[in-house]
């Protein structure tokens, strides 16, 4: 499996914006349940 030597710890420290424009720490997405993150080129 290709992994690109991903640092999940570093990824988890990053933040994204939700629909209320609030900052959400990525690591919260895989606390308690696995998380499948799909990154799309654009919203369109």
């Amino acid at each position: 499996m290709e992994t690109n030597n991903v640092s999940v710890e570093d990824l988890g420290e990053l933040g994204v914006l939700n629909d209320r424009n609030e900052h959400v720490k990525l690591s919260t997405l895989w606390q308690g349940t696995p998380a499948l993150l799909v990154f799309v080129r654009h919203f369109g």
Partner: protein
């Protein structure tokens, strides 16, 4: 994206948090949902920091490949029409499945526009998750 939208319930049933992350303004989330039929979690990474950390490609070579044109035409033929671009058109995407221990169980990085993780691969990766 349409296939992911059609199968999003499967991931819910498996107790997997599914999140789609783009780079456009969150104001466009509703349009994205209407266009794709996806009703799950949506986030934006306008700085592209997560895209960059994951090594997802950014550049003209990936954007302008011939096969990406054929994929776009094929999707259009199936009725999946791409809306206006909201976000970085040059930024390619990918996917990562992370279990609760922080282990990477699946990783996909698009090499050109139109590349996306196959839905059967995502389902298989979720099916292979080890219970803690």
């Amino acid at each position: 994206m349409a296939e992911l939208a059609e199968n999003s319930q499967y991931f819910n049933d498996k107790n997997v948090t599914l999140a789609v992350i783009g780079s456009g303004d969150p104001r466009h989330f509703e349009t994205f949902k209407k266009t794709t039929g996806y009703g799950g979690l949506l986030f934006s990474d306008p700085s592209l920091a997560a895209f960059s950390l994951l090594g997802f490609s950014k550049g003209l070579a990936g954007f302008m490949s011939i096969s990406s044109v054929f994929k776009a035409a094929s999707a259009l033929k199936k009725g999946h029409r791409q809306g206006s671009v909201q976000g970085s058109a040059m930024q390619l995407g990918g996917a990562i499945l992370i279990d609760v221990s922080g282990a990477v169980c699946y990783f996909f990085s698009g090499k050109k526009a139109g590349d996306h993780p196959k839905i059967n691969e995502l389902i298989s990766a979720v099916d292979n998750l080890q219970p803690l």
